[in-house]
Amino acid sequence: MTDALTPFLAATVRTATPLALAALGEMLVERTGIINIGLEGAVLAGAFGALAGATAGGVAGGYVGAVAGGLLVGAIFAFCVLVLRADQIITGMALTLLAVGATGTLYRALYGASGASLQAPTSGPWAVPALATLPILGEALFDQPVITYVTYLLVPTLAWWMARTHAGLALRAIGERPDAAAAAGIPVARMRTIAVLVGGALGGLAGGTLVLAQAGTFVENMSAGRGFIALAIVVLGRWQPLGVALGALVFGAASALQFAFQAMGWNVPYQLFLAAPYLLTLGALAGAMGRARAPASLGRPL
């Protein structure tokens, strides 16, 4: 059993890494009362940016490109929603569409319409000394690409920042009562802009992870809905960093289970496992197992 368990856990963590990155970014955005469904576009732009960056400057260049791609989407969103005051939801949808179109077009234009598989340099797993040899969990948790470890660090860092700094408190206050936050002298617009940019950057990083730590190449529309999954994870994680990390693992496990079953040749309707986390999230919204309460001002017109 353990010989099946370790690959399953490793696959769970691997799948969860980009989901967690994107969801953590979106969590920050939603904590300021904004919902960016252009996150899917940021992930995709990040994946393409990773390819472009990696062909120029290796893995490091790839991650720079990924962040830049996500930031670009975040910046357009911030401009439309926070400066022009365009509708958040429609802007987000349009940005996702834009990213699908633009990355597809650029990819075909730059790398050939055939989409011949381009090899991007990848960062292979790096085993953490000592920890990686722990039974069962060691290999799954500590023999992963470096970006996974970055994610491990990001979760407690964000949790600490949100709970233990005035800036984090301000962020939470904006999502609940922007007027009260403004009355306390908090620069609401500036913090929202920063949150949207960071959210975009983390979404881009998630896309970069797909290319640089997993696939080693770019495929059109390779984000494959991960940005939308991240939106669900934020809800399931109840807008808390640790919850979001756990939510990402739930979604990661569901999809890892699919591969595990396929690998073992079991004829199980794996779609049910894939759908399960969404149903869980809907249940959480409806108040099963205690209500997941969204920031009070989430999605309200500015």
């Binding site: 365009a86 509708d87 802007t91 834009l98 179109g101 597809g104 077009t105 779609q271 969404y278 809907l282």
Partner: protein, 356 residues
């Protein structure tokens, strides 16, 4: 989202948008260094340049876009952000397939029953999100996106499980009996009777929105829930829930029509994202079902032409998505700017007054 200003204005707007789109496409092609005349020529021949292209490519594609575009228009008009037309379409496709396969083929009755089941399935799928919104205040943006995934996996399960074709070799349902196919329009290639159904329904929806009390309530609730409740004594929750479910039913019908008219079986990739393109279709139409006829044809032509452009001029077909995205961004930005200018003239001053 203003009231219409007469037919001349509509024609002007339509021609203007069309020229803007062609212009933007040409510009993008120019920047990317493609042979612009050749690419535009391919776009033309692939979409409306031949009878075959017009009927079998453009019009066939326009049918689901028309119905889903109308679905989005109905929902957005009522202030319901239904991002779930894609999932509702899949639910409708699955429901219609199940009925068409299970009900022994009695021709017209089976077709009607399938279409009705498809619409009902879409309505139920939207009803989940509508119920969550009405009962728990759940943002429909989040719930409908999730329901899109659930629908996708559910269809994926169905075509590998209960509805899979008997040989179990392919992830698809059995093909539907000829008796339940929507009739082809004679002399119009693959174009089927669904076009008439779609046009009739969209015309009816537009008429209801313009000329009935129910349509008025939909608009009033979308414009200002507070004024609708206070001045109109409208039951806002009831209206939004009904609009949501109606929207789902229209999208579900689109799925049913697609199965009965085009694919003749249930597939996972039944829709190449019609439910998402529908948002662009509806927004460009100013959320007016009648204008959705025009914009759905436009987007159908663009997407049909894009394939030809790629084949004949080597231009990536994904360019269409870029154009669609710019159109949406342009529309919402223009609306935002107009609302801001208007509120600077009046609203700001009055808000301060009542605050004082």
């Amino acid at each position: 989202m203003r009231a219409s200003r007469g037919p001349a204005w509509t024609v002007f707007l339509a021609l203007g948008s069309l020229m803007a789109i062609v212009g933007a496409t040409a510009l993008l092609l120019l920047i990317a260094g493609y042979d612009v005349p050749r690419a535009l020529g391919a776009l033309w021949t692939g979409s409306v340049g031949s009878w075959y292209a017009l009927t079998s490519a453009t019009l066939v594609r326009a049918i689901p876009l028309m119905l889903t575009g109308c679905a989005i228009a109905v929902a957005f008009r009522a202030g319901v952000w239904n991002i779930g037309a894609e999932g509702q379409l899949l639910a409708g496709g699955a429901g219609a397939t199940a009925v068409a396969l299970l009900v022994p083929g009695a021709g017209t009755i089976a077709i009607v029953l399938s279409l009705a089941t498809g619409a009902a399935a879409g309505g139920v799928w939207a009803g989940i999100a509508a119920g969550l919104r009405a009962r728990f205040g759940v943002l429909e943006v989040i719930s409908t996106i999730m329901l899109n995934f659930v629908a996708l996996y559910a269809v994926s399960f169905l075509v590998r499980g209960p509805l899979q074709e008997p040989t179990h070799a392919y992830p698809q349902s059995s093909s539907l009996a000829d008796a339940v196919h929507l009739a082809r329009i004679p002399g119009a290639g693959r174009l089927h009777a669904g076009i008439a159904l779609a046009v009739v329904i969209v015309l009816a929806a537009g008429w209801v929105m313009r000329h009935t009390a129910a349509g008025y309530r939909l608009m009033a609730v979308g414009e200002s829930p507070a004024a609708a409740a206070s001045a109109g004594m409208i039951d806002v929750r009831r209206v939004t829930t009904l609009a949501f479910i109606t929207s789902g039913a229209l999208a579900g019908l689109a799925g049913a029509v697609e199965v009965l008219g085009v694919t003749f079986a249930l597939y996972e990739d039944l829709s190449p994202g019609y439910g998402y393109t529908a948002i662009a279709v509806a927004l460009l139409a100013g959320l007016d079902p009648w204008r959705v006829i025009g914009t759905s044809l436009l987007f159908a032509a663009l997407e049909a032409g894009a394939g030809a452009m790629q084949r004949d001029a080597g231009v990536p077909s994904t360019l269409v998505s870029v154009i669609e995205a710019f159109l949406i961004l342009g529309v919402v930005a223009a609306q935002a700017l107009r609302a801001r200018r208007a509120s600077m003239v009046t609203g700001g001053e009055l808000r301060r007054e009542s605050a004082a």
